[in-house]
Symmetry: none
């Protein structure tokens, strides 16, 4: 379901948050649908319940989900329409990409060129989430 890379520099709660957002905006999780309970998801992917709670708290702050005490956490009706948040995630992705590429010593032109070559042809193929 959700995969966590414990060696990553990206915090666990952040990795989980991004994956859930992708599921929401891509329709894997539908409006009103209930997410796994905090304790259930925590034991499923072997992380601490507090970390899942933190993820859900952030998702609620961002408007993707609504949590109801005693009931669970549900995808907000407007969750999928949060284009601005999707854009923000994309910006984070881009920042990360540029940062790492710059760390490798590449300049802006080389990064653009590399991405351009990679994108030639298809894009639908690479949906390995």
């Amino acid at each position: 379901m959700y995969s966590i890379d414990s060696r990553s520099a990206v915090p666990v709660y952040e990795q989980l948050k991004r994956q859930i957002i992708i599921h929401i905006v891509s329709g894997v999780l539908n409006d009103g649908e209930k997410l796994p309970s905090i304790r259930e998801l925590a034991s499923a992917i072997l992380i601490n319940p507090n970390t899942v709670a933190k993820t859900y708290r952030h998702l609620e702050t961002d408007g993707f989900v609504t949590s109801r005490k005693g009931l669970g956490v549900f995808v907000s009706a407007s969750g999928r329409e949060l284009q601005s948040n999707r854009t923000e995630i994309f910006k984070e992705l881009t920042d990360e990409y540029v940062s790492k590429a710059a760390g490798l010593g590449l300049n802006a032109d080389e990064i653009m060129k590399g991405l351009s070559e990679r994108l030639k042809g298809e894009i639908e193929h690479d949906k390995n989430e």
Copy 2:
């Protein structure tokens, strides 16, 4: 010279490292050339000398510079060639980036546009320096 965004989530030493690498691989800093001393650069851009030292240490580990106690830090003779050895890693980075962006539902044009926007600042900065 070098600009630091203290509000950024990217560590100061990392921001500085990227800018120096760009200067080295783009030829703004030539082989054998001496970098500013730790304390000099620190006071120039108003950061702690330890942070500059950390940047220089990382640059030396990566092979971009060589430091000599009492003398200074100098661009390695092979510094500019280091970028060619990292093409493979860069391709992996690009694959990962494209996959995630595609997972967000973005098409090739949107990805290119987003990256282009993100890189504008870098390009302008390099030209002005």
